[in-house]
Symmetry: none
Subunit: 196 residues, 2 copies
DNA sequence: GGGAGATATACAGGATAATATATAGACAAT
DNA sequence: ATTGTCTATATATTATCCTGTATATCTCCC
């Protein structure tokens, strides 16, 4: 029913989720009801232009009418910043991988199984969220400590400390405000390419 | 009554008049009634998103949701086509054309496909944005290097370097403030003028 | 298993967009 | 003046948005 406007409303949802804003929060900011927002995002109904503008403003977006001719250029610009969305240094990826490997090998003999679960969960998130250089350092040191412990036994307490540390990292990364961006070096290209 | 969406609907009118299309004609193309279009353009009523999309499509426009942060860059692009109908030296045009030709011929065997996409997009932008003489020089040297590589094989790293260079040019050009203009000598206009 | 936060659905009613049609005013060109 | 094109405006009817509120479902965390 709302085929025509799907691409737009999906952009809205992507932006909202990207900024980690709930529909309720967005409802408060934009003046629309949560119910309304849900329907718009799902494509159940087609919003009026007024509603679209309200929501966009609440998400710091602007509505632009661009000649089709210039779309490649504009897409390019849009992607250049959304790239910083999932830009993780390969360092970070590798560190997470190391930690997963180590902890798996190390086994969950030490530490409660709840600890183990929390740990895996945290790592899963850290695979996707940007970290500051300092935080990367913490990650690095944790990996080192864990790997050393392979040889000489590690105390339950030390293990708990690491788990706690990682969890803190996770929380920081999850709740970080999207605007105080993390400066990234050059860039990191992955796959990803969408069309309509 | 429709204050929020005035800027958008005015863009619509501007585009329609720019293309010398009558409201009747637009009505035929878009499926809305002429009466409806008139009210939308005058701001008498606020269109639904569906109507906006229909009209936009009929005018070869696309609706883009862009982060406010990127608006300067985007405005830059939009104005590049409408206002100063290209203040590019024929040199620049030719260089971009050479680069496109070379890279196409050269194939994308070297470098990731993401690299290739980034490269093509960058070139697309550089076709429209003004460059300083120095930047033109960089472009020239890149073209030369690429063309030489046709004969003796080029390393993946060297290719990456070129891609990076072009991308830097792109960024500089895109984010350049429009007012600190680049002094242009007299000549500027070449061929090129297409319609639909 | 309970509780909290988030999203999806449901339904009533008032508000408004959108249609179809018709007409009036403005401005050219014959 | 007449004809033609384009735009603004009017009216009536239908369709849909949008709100308000309430509830269902789902996920994650304790």
């Amino acid at each position: 029913m709302a085929y025509k406007t799907e691409h737009i409303t999906q952009q809205l949802r992507a932006a909202r989720e990207g900024q980690k804003v709930s529909q309720r929060e967005l409802s408060a900011r934009s003046g629309l009801t949560q119910s309304h927002i849900s329907q718009i995002e799902r494509g159940t109904m087609e919003p009026g232009l007024g509603s679209l503008v309200d929501v966009a403003r609440a998400l710091d977006l602007e509505i632009v009418l661009a000649p089709k001719k210039l779309m490649p250029a504009i897409r390019n610009i849009l992607e250049s910043s959304s790239a910083s969305n999932d830009v993780l240094t390969s360092d970070q990826r590798k560190l997470v991988a190391r930690l997963e490997r180590s902890s798996a090998q190390y086994g969950y003999g030490v530490g409660t199984s709840a600890d183990a679960d929390a740990f895996k969960d945290s790592l899963g998130l850290l695979r996707h969220l940007p970290l500051t250089p300092d935080e990367l350092d913490i990650l690095r040191r944790a990996a080192n400590r864990l790997e050393n412990s392979q040889t000489d036994k590690m105390s339950r307490q030390e293990m708990g400390a690491i788990v706690r540390e990682i969890r803190q990292l996770r929380n920081a990364a999850v709740h970080r405000d999207r605007d105080d961006a993390i400066p990234r070096s050059a860039y990191a290209l992955d796959e990803e390419d969408d069309d309509a």
